[in-house]
Subunit: 101 residues, 2 copies
Amino acid sequence: MEKAFKALASNPRRRILNHLAGGPMTVGEIAEQFDMAMPSISKHLSVLHDAGLVHQQKRGQHIIYSIAADKLANSLYSFLTPFCPEARVISARRKADAKED
Amino acid sequence: MEKAFKALASNPRRRILNHLAGGPMTVGEIAEQFDMAMPSISKHLSVLHDAGLVHQQKRGQHIIYSIAADKLANSLYSFLTPFCPEARVISARRKADAKED
DNA sequence: TGGTCATTCAGCAGTCGCGCTAAGTGATGC
DNA sequence: GCATCACTTAGCGCGACTGCTGAATGACCA
């Protein structure tokens, strides 16, 4: 949770997540969209991965990143719980749904 | 929004918000709960205020801080919009409600 | 007016984060 | 085998953040 918020504190990282909302992508595909060297993108992705906000999957010499929307939403809803009744409801339902598996 | 996420990236600041969820407080009352010098707390509060996440109200020689739950929730819901259908619904409804005034 | 209390401002040291370039790793293809 | 491609790791400089102490501000009370 600490890590999630630290990860979300950076504009480029939030933009990367928005791009990934459109579907899984390789590092190179993401880097094309940003005016930033690939190692910098790679580092941002590793921060997001360390926070559990993206998944990575090796595919030959490519690495495909995809968004971990559940983790992202769960973190924010559970943080919002003390402040917002709607978040309490959603957070509770998501937890119940998770247990069903 | 940028400011909101930067403000939320710090553990002490999230804890302060949690305390404020219990009701408005002065700087001194907040500082009592933290093992941190008052100027440090004051600075955190000013970061939160700059991000619009708390309100401040002068009351004699005290300054009373209270949480801006609406702004906090709106920021997070609107960020979550691309990733989570529930957030889309809530965000839309909150915006509609805001226009009604 | 002078003292005290609540809070903020100023300035400092240490740490962390961001972007870069250069070099390393590991899979692919000739 | 070796060149190439996709990506990560290492290391650097710089600016931002975090906590501190000490001083300033501003309201209250005698």
